[in-house]
Symmetry: C2
Subunit: 418 residues, 2 copies
């Protein structure tokens, strides 16, 4: 099945918002075996939208519209789409009740008259009821293709995609698609290609495809079959082979981010963590506390952006700072031990480095970073050379810090740097 996504809204063309609906839909549709061939965005203009519909009709079997289902005059998607496919709309009193309920319980104010417009839907459509907003989605067949309309508000679009559209498409296709996400840290995408290129290029069902994230590599392994069990059986041999080839660089299968994996491992071992951050300036703490449940294992940390705080709060000896400078192996070690001591955590991670834009006063290059991990049985320090780019260096430093903890908690070797 080939698909075109059509986003309707002048706010997209003005750059007020990014079209994140298209990304989420594409990800989910690809996972469900739908071949997305085009994304189009067009403004709140009936003539241009009609022309876009005609073009899409010629080149895809599934048209998914997002946006323009609101209650105001510029919400014209339903009207224009129905006219293009010669559909009448039908009033649904039960949708009015849903909208009324949403106003009563969430907005806690009277429902305006104009919202009644949202209760009109194309004749004979499947309704995608919307418990997280006021605009229902819908789907119908016309002229040999399938037409879907979803609200544009990202939260509502995402909800109806995951809970209504994808299950509906799966049921229609009568085929099950299952996938696993493989997460890799410590190898670049070309290095992963080198290790797995023969599999990725030849695999059809199951298929293995990469998608890059900053600093890490993600692969998706996908199979189609009659049942979930059949999908898993198809994937099992390839999964074993990929695991064997990636070894310790494969940090998780369906586990979420590095910090999520660290959180899971710490919980499983009943251990606590703290952090002492210089160049990352709070990013490590921020990333782990982004996760619900972090308070069970993360006690806290210190952002020691100056030598005064390294000495005064973390207790790093002034002699170390004077002799080796703040960006050094001994200071990284003392910072981690200091965080461990003052917070009472089982493990403590520390980072100190030069994020740029300039070298530090000891002549350390931008990108020179030390990461240390203090644990029960001692402290290990890793030296990194992360190249340039302030944001990149900070993000990669946090990745390496989490990977170091992950390696410690899974008894893998930690590279010591130079």
């Amino acid at each position: 099945m080939t698909c075109e996504l059509i986003a309707v809204g002048t706010e997209l063309l003005l750059g007020n918002v990014a079209n994140t609906d298209a990304q989420h839909l594409s990800e989910q549709l690809s996972g469900a075996g739908v071949n997305v061939l085009y994304h189009t965005a067009v403004g709140d203009n009936p003539a241009r939208l009609t022309e876009v519909i005609h073009i899409a009709h010629r080149r895809a079997d599934l048209l998914i519209f997002t946006g323009g289902l609101g209650p105001t005059y510029d919400d014209l998607t339903k009207e224009v789409v129905c006219r293009a496919f010669g559909r009448k709309t039908v009033f649904h009193p039960e949708i009015v009740e849903e909208i009324q309920h949403y106003f009563d319980t969430v907005f806690r104010r009277p429902m305006p008259e104009c919202n009644l417009q949202q209760a009109y839907l194309p004749e004979g459509c499947t309704i995608f009821h919307n418990p997280v907003g006021t605009a229902p989605g819908c789907a119908f067949e016309a002229d040999g293709i399938t037409v879907v309309m979803l609200p544009g508000v990202p939260r509502e679009c995402r909800y109806l995609t995951d809970h209504a559209l994808i299950p509906w498409l799966r049921e229609k296709s009568g085929e099950v698609i299952t996938s696993h996400e493989l997460r890799i840290f410590g190898l670049t995408e070309p290095q992963v290609q080198e290790k797995l290129g023969d599999i990725m290029n030849n695999a059809v069902n199951p298929s293995l495809a990469p998608y890059a994230k900053t600093g890490e590599v993600l692969l998706r392994l996908t199979a189609k079959a009659a049942t979930t069990a059949d999908c898993e059986a198809l994937m099992a041999p390839m999964l074993r082979e990929v695991q064997a080839r990636l070894g310790e660089y494969l940090y998780g299968i369906d586990t979420g981010s590095l910090e999520q994996q660290v959180l899971t491992l710490l919980k499983a071992r009943g251990l606590t963590l703290s952090a002492a951050e210089s160049c990352t300036g709070g990013l490590i703490a921020k990333r782990i506390t982004d996760l619900p449940g972090a308070s069970a294992v993360f006690l806290g940390g210190v952002v020691s952006y100056t030598n005064g705080v390294k000495a005064g709060v973390l207790g790093v000896a002034q002699e170390l700072l004077d002799e080796y400078g703040a960006v050094s192996e001994p200071v990284a070690r003392a910072m981690a031990q200091g965080a461990q001591r003052i917070t009472g955590s089982d493990l403590a991670v520390s980072v100190t480095g030069v994020a740029g834009p300039d070298k530090d006063d000891r002549g350390n290059d931008v990108g020179t970073v030390f990461v240390a991990l203090a644990a029960e049985n001692g402290t290990v320090v890793q030296k990194l050379d992360l190249g340039t780019g302030r944001h990149r260096i900070r993000a990669m430093t946090a990745h390496h810090a989490f990977d170091m903890i992950r390696r410690y908690l899974t008894d893998l070797p930690i590279r010591k740097g130079e």
Copy 2:
């Protein structure tokens, strides 16, 4: 001038990345008076890309391609675009030198042969040199329209948009467009509409348009005229009127984010800052240290995710924690004073609150947050009710913390909460 943006890359259709290039380009082009009518995304497929070019040619005067300018076999934008417009490509040895330089200084590894491909550009084009990557951009006129190609990597696309494409379009138009960014915190977008709706709805040149960011409102004031001075003269009366109506909620004109404004004000006053963070878990420190030059004013901070760290590191009295709980006015106050004392900073900000998903053990609702600011002349505490959503609560708490510092540094009143 009407415009279509065409993004090339299968990774967009698989949902691996969002098309943020389209957002940034749209925002900048709108500001430069270009009317963006369509966004299209298509995969790395020559036949479909060619068809997309023919459609775009019929409906826009300016076609901007992003992506597919890399050195590998699936980077086919240049080849397909040149074929569609009957252009040869020409080899540019000076581009090879630039790419070589980029490999020497940034990647620090030999340049692969395949990168030579990036030195071929359409005959007679204007070259947009790329100092932040290896793919140059370019522009040429053909068949009565203007064709532009930019790299797809967001950082590179953004750089070339701002530093090459927009200046080039402005020079071509022979008209000067000048704009100012007005940044507002503490009012919702409807509240801003209420205060300024009459101006926004009627203003043509200069124009005043909002674009929302999470938690704050940004307005762009834009004028077109023969010279920059004429633009400024056109804008001056409206700017005065808007300033008068927004008052203390207008935190900056062309100043960057709240944290950037705080950094600027602290530098100007020669004051230092520290932070004690509970529910934001390092986000405040992270946001200010995202900015180059933060080390001149930000000494560091403590992420006190547990009562043990609040007491042991920040010196919050155990009696306060026992009597009032961690999420309370007295504890917020003591946290700020503790950070100020242990770091020796002039100012210290603290936050403690319930980010969710659950209420805290004292029954405080999700979204209850205390923000405190300790300064030379005392400590002030503000109570906030930020509603639901973990990420939103954390982001809004950081906004409020920075706004509180901004208000203190500009002698504005700080709302005390209940």
